[in-house]
């Protein structure tokens, strides 16, 4: 069985930062895995200029990967099936087959999951045309997909606002941006485009029911108003993805960074957290070596 001193699950901004930091701190036995074909995580699908000094996601990833140490082993296209209390990880991917890897320190940089439509108390049919915001971002930015308008967006956090601007820029009308609070949830800079945009903002509102089968036809808001639409975008928020930690408890060899630690609004904080965790993992390793 292969052994690595540090296993890093997730090669997004957090995982890349953690890998570089652990290397800088002297670790030379590091494995970085990611289920995607290329490192970068969710940044790869972010085409808005919201990273570093006005860079888009892919350019920011290039910056993060500059001078990435070749000694850090990387397995891309690799899923982690499970992690055990005995410090084993079961990996699976077309390039490596099925492999068990033993590690000393584990850094989880697995990102977050969106709250799906199904988790919301929205009644009605289950038609086509309903997407989560991240899902549509990937479809539009990486697969040249255009949703059918009019679009209703549920949630005015950063991702909801970013997607609203994307959709408008693509010439697709937005019938409503529905927000349960009394004002937009996202950062000021993401709200700027709203000034010139023709988007009906529905605050203190939520979606009670969807209609249409097999395709979406309209939604009914909590105040009873009905909005015809062909696409419903769910930008209801995200939760850290801790699925792999399900049976682990809180072992001292486990470190979390990035969106699986907590959902961060800014990538700089993610990178910072990744660095700290990378150093911490290397330090924990050194302490153990010293003890021996």
């Amino acid at each position: 069985m292969e052994h690595y001193d540090i296993l890093i699950i997730g090669a997004g901004a957090a995982g890349i930062a953690a890998a570089k930091a652990a290397y800088q701190a002297g670790s030379r036995s590091i494995l970085l895995v990611d289920r995607k074909a290329e490192p970068g995580g969710v940044l790869l699908q972010c085409m808005h200029h919201g990273f570093g000094n006005g860079m888009n996601g892919p350019d920011y990833v290039k910056k993060l990967l500059a001078e990435f140490p070749v000694e850090i082993s990387c397995h891309m296209n690799t899923s982690v099936l499970s992690v055990t209390n005995t410090r084993e990880a079961f990996l699976s991917g077309p390039e490596i087959g099925r492999k068990t890897v033993h590690f000393h320190q584990l850094i989880l940089a697995a990102g977050c999951l969106e709250i799906p439509f199904g988790a919301l108390p929205i009644a009605g049919t289950r038609p086509t045309g309903i997407y989560s915001a991240g899902q549509l971002q990937e479809l539009m930015n990486l697969h040249a997909f255009l949703p059918e308008g009019p679009v209703v967006i549920l949630g005015s956090g950063d991702l909801g606002l970013i997607m609203a601007k994307h959709i408008l820029d693509a010439g697709i009308p937005i019938a409503a941006l529905v927000e349960q609070k009394s004002s937009c949830g996202g950062m000021a800079r993401n709200q700027r485009f709203l000034v010139n945009a023709e988007i009906p903002l529905r605050f203190n509102s939520t979606i009670a029911e969807v209609y249409g089968h097999p395709q979406l036809e309209c939604v009914r808001l909590s105040d009873g108003s009905v909005i015809p639409c062909r696409t419903l975008l769910i930008a209801a928020g995200m939760r850290p993805d801790r699925t792999l930690l399900h049976r682990l408890g809180q072992p001292e060899w486990l470190h979390l960074c990035g969106n699986c630690s907590k959902v961060h609004p800014m990538v700089e904080a993610v990178v910072q957290e990744g660095k700290q965790v990378g150093y911490a993992a290397a330090a924990a390793l050194n302490k153990t070596i010293e003890k021996r």
């Binding site: 899923s79 991917g93 009644a123 049919t125 289950r126 997407y131």
Partner: protein, 440 residues
């Protein structure tokens, strides 16, 4: 014009098991469904329970079939290679009236021949099932109750039927049925079918199909129910939990074979078919806290609606037993089959097949193989991360007949996890497209 001995109208679980059981005999069978896949209707949305049989009227066909079917379920699921969990059930009551009702059900169950039934005190019930509320005063424990995935089971029966020589005719809706001295002519939106016998297993349309040829004997009134599905890692009970209630308005909690907790609302009027209602979802959320206070409702990942057919006589009296209408020996309709339809699907299929064997005067098929052939198709490329389903399994599902993302989901479970398909649906669409274009 397609010719066959028996045409089965309706490819839900009843039609699929009819087809499977017909293949035990030297009979040619055609399974017709209007959708482009089997099990897309009532089969797709129900409580997934294999009942013990204590709740049926003694002496009824339901009572007799359920106990026999329940006993046979491990064998059935082994043959069809479908997971089955005989987890047992607790029907819980809150107070003396409920306790008395459970005592009555216990007597009924013993009369029906159900094994292992016990009436437990609240304390004993909580020992068996620690998640139960402290307010539970007694519980009827039925160790033989179980759960199976209804569409996995239906699709498995379908594949076993095809393996043994049944012919599918999907994407074909029946528009009319005529008969002449040689038998029946079934007209559809595509080809016509000539056959000697018809089995009407058309689910929510079964009354209308029957009335194409025969006067209305049974009418269907459809009602609905709402379901909530929780994430696999959410804490769940070990047993199926029924809430005893006088007016039948209790909820049900089922720890499914996949690991998810399924919560079922009581029956309510059907609005839009398969749509959920605000009231139903709210009812479940309110009520589950009374029975299983530690269920974490923030772990809900999906909701869906069910359609249930309720059979009534023409003068509007509710029919409580299975409706098997045989206006002539060559035409049999299963009308409004509801609970315990899933449990008894194979038994009903056997019943129909035996009728066919007699009417057509044929012998048993020597090489009928009751075991569904499954190949291990998993490979190392994980496509559905949440449920860890590989590319190989998805391609296998497509080769077995899945034509849509939904159909793949029904066969291998993609998109049923925490992200509800937001990460894998696109890739699966691509595989389907490439298979259609022949580029894979």
């Amino acid at each position: 014009m397609i010719q066959c001995d028996v045409a089965i109208i309706g490819g839900g679980i009843l039609g699929c098991f009819a087809a499977r059981n017909l293949m035990r005999w030297n009979i040619s069978a055609l399974l017709i469904d209007g959708a482009n896949d089997v099990c897309t209707g009532i089969t797709r949305a129900n409580t997934a329970i294999v009942y013990a049989g204590y709740d049926n009227k003694p002496g009824s066909l339901k009572a007799e079939m359920t106990v026999r079917a329940n006993q046979n379920f491990d064998v059935l699921c082994r043959e069809l290679a479908v997971p089955f969990s005989r987890c047992g059930s607790l029907m819980v009551s809150f107070g003396p009236e409920g306790d008395r009702a459970l005592a009555k059900k216990l007597k009924r169950g013993i009369q029906n021949g159900v094994n292992g039934l016990q009436l437990l005190s609240g304390g004993a019930a909580r020992e068996l099932e620690p998640m139960l509320s402290a307010d539970v005063t007694s519980a009827l424990y039925a160790p033989t109750t179980g759960t199976v995935n209804p569409w996995h089971l239906g699709i498995a029966a379908y594949e076993n039927a095809l393996q043994n020589g049944a012919t599918p005719l999907l994407g074909t809706a029946v528009t009319n049925i005529r008969w002449d001295e040689r038998g029946y002519i079934i007209e559809t939106n595509a080809q016509s079918v000539r056959c000697k016998m018809v089995f009407n297993c058309a689910g929510q349309n079964s009354d209308q199909i029957h009335q194409l040829l025969f006067p209305a004997s049974v009418r269907l009134q459809l009602d609905g129910a709402d379901f909530l599905v929780l994430d696999k890692h959410a804490q769940k009970p070990r047993h199926i939990i029924f809430q005893e209630s006088e007016d039948g308005k209790g909820i049900t909690a089922v720890p499914c074979t996949e690991g998810n907790l399924l919560l079922d609302s009581p029956a309510r009027p059907m609005g839009v078919p398969y749509a959920t209602t605000q009231e139903g979802i709210a009812f479940i959320r309110r009520t589950v806290a009374d029975i299983l206070p530690d269920v974490d409702m923030s772990q809900v990942i999906r909701s869906f609606g069910a359609v249930r057919p309720n059979p009534y006589t023409v003068d509007e009296r509710s029919i409580h037993d299975f409706c098997i209408e045989e206006p002539v020996p060559s035409f049999i309709s299963l009308i409004g089959i509801k609970t315990p339809g899933l449990t008894c699907a194979d038994e009903l299929g056997k019943y129909l097949a035996q009728k066919a064997a007699v009417y057509l005067n044929v012998s048993a098929k020597a090489n009928f193989d009751p075991c569904r052939q499954v190949s291990s198709s998993a490979d190392d490329e994980i496509i559905c991360q949440c449920e860890q389903v590989s590319r190989g399994e998805i391609m296998d599902a497509i080769h077995r007949g899945a034509k849509t993302v939904e159909a793949v989901k029904r066969r291998v479970g993609t998109g049923m996890g925490r992200c509800q398909g937001s990460r894998c649906s696109h890739q699966i669409e691509k595989f389907l497209e490439e298979c259609r274009n022949g580029t894979l």
